[in-house]
């Protein structure tokens, strides 16, 4: 298990696979969670700057999360405890059916939680690219992670 102590700021990790976006999944997600016409129907999308059917930004975020979990569980799994939130979630380019997404995670910094000596907080820059190398999504994410030795002094 990889704990707080094992996280090295500056490390860049890549998702172990790509995520293939299908038309069925785009429409299924949008029908449930983002039923705006341009995420459901080609004709409605034609007259917007998307040009054709594209994934909801929340769907792209969810696909990124899937890649994040796989990245964190790849090899030695990370002792993740959830997340309090994200900053600057940007949907930079549309994501279309047929796209293949990959994730790059860069650890920016980490600190122990003074209120919870058994937990640490990491700050990462997550970037999602499509098959053409275009950046389609970026965000700054926070992650909680278990500390291996909670009795060690907090040196933030």
């Amino acid at each position: 298990m990889r704990y707080y102590e094992d996280i090295e700021p500056g490390t860049v990790t890549h998702s172990p696979r790509t995520y293939k976006v299908t038309r069925e999944e785009v429409i299924d997600f949008a029908s449930k969670y983002d039923p705006q016409p341009f995420h459901l129907d080609d004709d409605a999308a034609k007259n917007t700057f998307f040009g054709r059917l594209s994934a909801s930004g929340w769907h792209t975020s969810a696909m990124m999360m899937r890649l994040m979990v796989e990245t964190m569980q790849h090899g030695e799994p990370q002792a993740g405890l959830g997340s309090p939130g994200v900053e600057d979630l940007k949907w930079i380019k549309p994501v279309y059916p047929g796209d293949e997404l990959r994730l790059e995670m860069e650890v920016l910094s980490k600190r122990r939680m003074k209120s919870r000596p058994d937990m640490g907080l990491t700050r990462s820059n997550n970037r999602v690219y499509n098959q053409d190398g275009d950046l389609v999504l970026s965000m700054i994410g926070y992650g909680l992670i278990r500390v291996k030795d909670p009795d060690a002094p907090i040196e933030n």
Copy 2:
């Protein structure tokens, strides 16, 4: 149709209904997009600060989006054109199966796009509450919206 010109900063709008969170949907979403043990299984969740099975933060965000779309389409529908992103997305309290979520949207400001005179950008504070009135999610969202009269001078 409600256009850019019809948006009044300071307006607070409430979702026309609540969203009932089910155990099936929590597990279904997490299986697809956030397969961390504490979003899939009660026993795994027991030893985390969630205490029991809780929804992925991305699932809560997706349910918020559903309420947003219904809020924007309620009565006179809004001429929305998508969103470039959000700031400060905070998952403040866990969301559990059985919870009922409601949304409050407050328009903070708006401006015309200099590069696209036919579009405006709104900045809103979105807040999601559970049935006990606890704030579970908040974020600052940006929304693109069609301008009714693109030839009107830009006065930002």
